[in-house]
Amino acid sequence: MDDVTALTATTLAADVRAGRRSARAITDAFLDRIAATDGAIGAYLAVDVDGARAAADAVDAARARGEALGPLAGVPVGVKDVIVTRDLVTTAASKILAGWRPPYDATAVARLRAAGAVVLGKLGCDEFAMGSTGEQSAWRATANPWDLARVPGGSSSGSAAAMAVRSAALTLGTDTGGSIRQPAAFCGVVGLKPTYGRVSRWGAIAYASSLDQIGPLAATVADAALALEVIAGLDPRDATSIDAPAPALTAALDRGVRGLRVGLPREYLPDDLDPDVAAAVARARAILADAGATIVDVSLPHTRYALPAYYVIAPAEAASNLARYDGIRFGARAKDPADLDALYARTRGEGFGAEVIRRIMIGTYVLRAGSYDAYYRQAQQVRALVRRDFDRAFAEVDCVLAPVAPTPAWPTGATPTPLDMYRADVFTLACNLAGLPGLAVPCGATAAGLPLGVQLMGRPLDEATLCAAGQVIERATGPAPRAPWPPRGAA
């Protein structure tokens, strides 16, 4: 039987445009796939069956009228729950937003819809995108489709898991310190974190505004490139969005890496790196070299300070961004508070999970008048140095190859302390501090069959080079396989 859900978004859209498939049939196949898989995977927090079918029917009707169809016509997509969707419950996986129906679409979602994509539903994540495992969700943890006893990574957990099991043809995630790339690597899919400002943040529920960026997770580099082309571009509603022409990514996919200079930053390849992860990077290095790239050792000397700087800046902005959840205008409100202070304290105390409260407290502390200079200002200075490291490296190389995470996916419940979890972001967060694009692309698997990924980081606005190099790796290792179904490790 023809399994529609195994096809790429690029193929599905081409089929719909050519009339080989109906958008409705594709959407129904993906809704069936969700019904079959999601009980065990837990990628979705909400599935909008009626809305998806109506959107698919609208695409088919447009085609029947002879209208030109968009580049994602009939492609079923899933959207991370920190990205707002009009009239579709959006909670950021937090109790404090239980039942909230936004009156508007995020720009990225609006652009997906305008391109013909069909929104299937909302994907689970760590609460307010704060976490690296998906276990910080207020509603449900997501399982790694390759091994249900392991975490899918986070915070875009559902976005990665849904792609791995193909219960969506394309998903949106957000990446503040690695939240697209790390779960993509854990789940064996492609994850693209765009240049800061490339994609409008309008409608992205803010975690850390100067670091947040919406990006696609996809089955192939080509699909990720196609999705980014659709969602990228200046948005007057986001004052930090960049006024640059839409990237011609799909056109750049096949240009290869001949003559490309690829940097290997020594700070990203410590001696104690997990052997499987180190092997994946070595494999990618060999593939790129074979394809004609020049591999250059580079240094990003301030890398070791990036992690502490990130965990000052991100919580500071988080504490500020989350001040609006006060129970007054939307979301949950504590019942029968004694007075206004109690209303705030109980609404927030009951509504936020432990990790969110921890980051709010850290952020509140570092922004106090008495600690601002020692923490926040200092962290901003480190951030400038991290950025300068990359500027210098990119004077010599065209992109940088690095691990995504220090290890493959770890077992559920095995993250002993918050600090251990923070340390797992060590290879991804510098990219956010510097505002650079980063691509996670699958590159082999462990002996036990767990996916491994590698990361490419590039110059600002140069997603094209990352996609070209990523596709070289993808072609050499074979397209990322769909997670087996029924899954391994299922009871």
């Binding site: 004052a239 930090t240 902005e317 001040a323 609006r324 006060d326 007054i328 939307f330 509140t364 922004l367």
Partner: protein
């Protein structure tokens, strides 16, 4: 010592960070959108009209204007503050070290400004017994906070400064200046020290002075309170007090142990605010003559200070004056007197735009009085006819034959007729009853319909009766 922080509501069509109209008296919470409501995922974008207004105010106050300033988030929890923070400016304000010229009792003073920064307004709470309702129509309206150095020395000076600021922002057109609608709201920092003491005393912040009807009363009350504390052997507490304009008292709102820490954060949603030479030049080109300069010019042109002060309180009024003076350059003082004494009374509080008398018509009247064509007394009749008909002064004077009789022979002929008609009174006058001169002059004025210059009437009659 007194320092004032005045929030000036900028007269923009839309809010500071959202494409939502600014209006007064709209249905509760109708002027909102996801940005104003602080909804998840909503982002601010800055309204450039507010920047232009703030730069205008900065230039008019001779401030140093930063080429790059930043918005900062000021955090506190209150139901009228939707995001849990106010977008304001902190350590990189738009304007610093400016000054505002203030006329106090006929002399020009300069009040130093510490800063002028941009920020957004909060909403309003409407209290109804145990229930408070939030109205966010005002939330996000752009404000300039204008902060003086602690240089004001009395409640009178503070009041004069408020008046000058009010005048300035209206003349610039950056604020509608309607005090009833809270377009200017004032907080004051007040401290007292002994005469001759170098160090400032402990500062108390007075909030909620709002209408500047209360500025004088609130500050006088606070000065008296601090002196009472010090003379009673106590110490002034560093605190924030809330002024109750109805009761005429202040109450402690927050003591020093509860000093607010706003946890300022440069706003990551908003890029630095850039003011380049092009913008400065464009705004500079729109600056009108400032009220304090205008007042100086009018006093130099011969106006009485009080008239000049009153006439520069409203730019439209001063424009009217200037238009009239342009038509009758020699009659500035007379024009001013007539505006203040007659025209404003006639208008009874309506704006000058409603004047039934055109500026050029009033200029004609003033010139006719100044050149002796008519007497000031007759001028009032002419003015009344101008109001009634809308005609010019000269036209009325000619039509009604009101031109002053200045020919001595004509006056003498009239006088002779009156003396001839009143032989008994002439006899009594000549016998020494001087007081009858008034009777004869009165008869002459009456016979001429008031058109003879009173001095000429008196001189002529006196000479005639003396037998000259």
């Amino acid at each position: 010592m007194i320092g004032l922080e005045v929030h000036v509501q900028l007269a923009t069509a839309t809010k500071a960070f959202a494409p939502v109209p600014v209006a007064y008296g709209a249905p509760v919470n109708s002027l909102t959108d996801p940005i104003v409501l602080g909804m998840p995922g909503a982002l601010p974008t800055f309204n450039r009209a507010a920047l232009v207004a703030a730069v205008k105010l900065g230039l008019a106050t001779r401030s140093q204007i930063r080429a790059r300033s930043r918005f900062a988030r000021k955090h506190y929890f209150y139901p009228d503050l939707p995001k849990g923070y106010q977008i304001s400016q902190h350590d990189e304000p738009l304007c610093e070290h400016g000054a505002i010229d203030v006329w106090i009792a006929g002399a020009r003073h300069t009040v130093a400004l510490a800063r002028i920064h941009l920020e957004e307004d909060a909403g309003k709470l409407n209290h109804d017994g145990p229930i408070s309702r939030v109205d966010l129509n005002r939330a996000g309206v752009p404000l300039c906070e204008v902060v003086t150095e602690p240089v004001l020395r009395s409640a009178e000076q503070a009041f004069a400064y408020m008046k000058a600021l009010h005048r300035l922002v209206r003349a610039l057109g950056v604020c509608e200046g309607d005090l009833e609608k809270g377009h200017l709201r004032c907080d004051a920092n007040v401290s007292v020290r002994k005469v001759g003491a170098a160090a400032f005393g402990t500062r108390v912040e007075l909030k909620n002075i709002n209408s500047f009807r209360f500025v004088k009363a609130a500050i006088e009350h606070e000065i008296a309170r601090q002196i009472r504390v010090l003379e009673g052997g106590g110490q002034v507490e560093r605190e924030t007090r809330l002024w109750d304009g109805v009761a005429g008292i202040s109450q402690s709102m927050r003591g020093k142990e509860e000093v607010a820490d706003y946890r300022y954060l440069p706003d990551p949603d908003l890029p630095p605010l850039v003011v380049d030479a092009e913008l400065l030049a464009a705004v500079q080109a729109t600056l009108p003559e400032l009220p304090a300069d205008r007042l100086a010019r009018l006093v130099a042109a011969g106006l009485a200070f009080d008239d000049a002060d009153l006439l520069t309180s409203d730019a439209a009024l001063a424009d009217y004056l200037d238009a009239a003076v342009a038509a009758a350059p020699g009659s500035a003082r007379t024009i001013a007197t007539w505006i203040v004494n007659e025209l404003l009374r006639e208008l009874g509080g309506r704006p000058i735009a409603d004047s039934p008398v055109a500026a050029t018509a009033l200029a004609e009247l003033a010139a006719a009085i100044d050149d002796g064509t008519i007497s000031g007394k007759l001028g009032k009749d002419v003015f009344a006819k101008m109001v009634a008909t809308g005609d010019g002064a000269r036209a009325i004077i000619e039509r009604e034959g009101l031109r002053q009789i200045t020919d001595p022979a004509a006056v003498r002929a009239m006088a002779e007729a009156i003396v001839a008609a009143n032989p008994r009174q002439a006899e009594q006058y000549r016998a020494g009853k001087d007081s009858l001169l008034g009777f004869f002059v009165g008869q002459l004025m009456k016979a001429s319909g008031g058109r003879v210059n009173p001095q000429l009437a008196s001189d002529t009659m006196k000479a005639l009766l003396a037998g000259a």
